[in-house]
């Protein structure tokens, strides 16, 4: 029996490896994996990265955190609980603010990836934010801080690796109040594993809030029904709704 399990596990592992190896991503003209297209997650990470039950306006989900739990420092947990309690009004997204990194990648809105040999560009439907990710050596501006941070990218085999610093401390990771400081560094990995799937990982490193780096993993799915990223002008829509009209 034991031997059977080992064999089964080995076969399973081998099968997974074979599957992963059997997919070769198409290439751009400069020979890099082509990640271009319009993508969106199919999960509830935007509401809560950790495993959670459904609640009012929150769909249930199994979570996307490796090991399930976010390793908060004991001193940092109280703020998360306070954020959670006030999520209906305190989540920066309820004010239509930019989502930050990595949250912008798992909103319930699509985004488009575009590539040149020099850069990767991500343009989003939600509040028309964009990320320009240079693939060349471009010095960071000392002290620069932004809602969407300051990203640099590189290729690691078939994987696009994007490192982002310069993030302010005003964004949340999700609607459950998971937060960070301005010491946050995010390392994202994009690997196309099928024609319409990108495996997406983000490692969160923020020693002011967490006891160790931690990782989220999910898949991006191609939105084959879209020919362009549309507009969601959140705050203009909110302003218009207050006046009882549409967005203008």
């Amino acid at each position: 029996m034991k031997r059977f399990l080992v064999l089964a596990a080995a076969a399973h592992l081998f099968g997974a490896m074979a599957m992963a190896q059997s997919y070769t991503p198409p290439r751009t003209s400069d020979g890099k994996p082509d990640l271009q297209g319009i993508w969106q997650v199919l999960n509830t990470a935007n509401w809560d990265l950790q495993p959670h039950s459904g609640s009012y306006n929150v769909p249930a989900g199994p979570g996307v955190v490796e090991g399930d739990q976010i390793p908060y420092l004991p001193s940092a947990l109280a703020k998360k609980q306070e954020n959670l309690k006030n999520r209906a009004t305190a989540d920066p997204l309820t004010k239509c603010f930019m989502a930050g990194v990595p949250r912008t990648m798992y909103l319930p809105y699509p985004f488009q990836i575009l590539q040149t040999p020099q850069a990767v560009v991500v343009v989003s439907e939600y509040v028309h934010s964009w990320r320009y990710v240079p693939l060349y050596n471009l010095p960071h501006i000392d002290g620069y801080e932004a809602w969407m941070g300051d990203s640099r990218g590189r290729w690691d085999g078939n994987t696009l690796v994007v490192e982002t610093i310069g993030l302010n401390d005003e964004t949340w990771f999700d609607n459950a109040g998971d937060y960070h400081s301005d010491a946050l560094k995010v390392t994202e990995r994009f690997t196309r594993t099928a024609a319409d799937v990108i495996d997406y990982e983000a490692t969160i490193d923020d020693s002011k809030v967490f006891s160790r780096p931690w990782k989220i993993k999910m898949q991006l799915h191609r939105r084959t029904d879209l020919t362009r990223v549309l507009e969601n002008e959140c705050y203009l829509n909110a302003e218009a709704a207050r006046r009882g009209g549409n967005s203008k």
Partner: protein
């Protein structure tokens, strides 16, 4: 003499061969700033006024350099300008739209991945992804602050056709408003490695008696290690209540 000058200009223009992208199109990638002068305040010729510098405008057709409004549309423009200046969508951090996005006091970047011409604007962190694949505009019922842009190359000139506007944008701070019928045709032509001639022809039979055209140059920002920093207009906005009807002030 005039003929000689004209020929000389032609020769100069022909002398310049733009660099090419891998797919053979003129390479306009990089960072750009407009040379539109005082157009952000008023695209028509205007004298100086309180906090507004005088300017010759950017309209090249019609020859009087004024927007060829219908009588009714001109009356509305004057009312908007004189009585509703705080309704300027820019004051609400709205996307500036086309073509106004090109003559904000902020820079922008061109990126040319295959099949698209991408413009990343600093102002309100707006993006435009111009489809270059010949696809049609979105269904007319879909409206956008930034419109829907499709493009093609005419020789070495990029031609961008934009429609599907929501009628919410203005053309400047002088009350020149737009409608949902706005149709803009932009032309971008590299005239030397650091200069693009920009031209936008604007059509809207519900507002204008004829199409009209603006023109100015874009100049390359070649500052070493420059990149566009984030302009978080809405997030930084702490004064929005002063611009809304909620406080009774329009």
């Amino acid at each position: 003499m005039i003929t000689t000058l004209f020929l000389g200009a032609l020769l100069l223009a022909q002398d310049f061969t733009p660099p090419r992208t891998p797919d053979g199109k003129p390479d306009m990638q990089g960072y750009w700033n407009n040379q539109a002068g005082t157009a952000p305040w008023d695209i028509e010729p205007h004298p100086a006024s309180f906090q507004v510098p005088a300017g010759p405008g950017i309209i090249v057709d019609p020859p009087d350099k004024k927007i060829p409004y219908t009588a009714a549309a001109l009356a509305k423009r004057n009312d908007v300008r004189d009585n509703h200046a705080f309704d300027d969508p820019q004051a609400h951090c709205a996307p500036s739209g086309v073509p106004r996005q090109t003559y904000t006091p902020f820079g922008f970047q061109f990126v040319q991945p295959p099949g698209y011409f991408v413009i990343l604007y600093e102002a309100e962190h707006v993006h435009r992804v111009v489809r270059m694949d010949g696809s049609p505009h979105m269904p007319a019922s879909m409206k956008f602050w930034s419109g829907d842009s499709v493009g093609h190359w005419e020789g070495d000139t990029l031609v961008v056709d934009s429609a599907n506007f929501n009628g919410g944008t203005w053309l400047d701070m002088a009350g020149n408003y737009t409608s949902e019928n706005l149709h803009v045709i932009e032309k971008y032509t590299l005239t030397d490695k650091d200069t693009i001639r920009y031209e936008a022809t604007i059509e809207d039979p519900s507002l204008y008696t004829r199409p009209w055209t603006m023109q100015f140059n874009l100049r390359r920002n070649s500052q070493k290690d420059y990149y566009i920093l984030e302009f978080a207009c809405h997030e930084g906005e702490r004064d929005l209540q002063h611009y809304t009807e909620d406080t009774g002030k329009k």
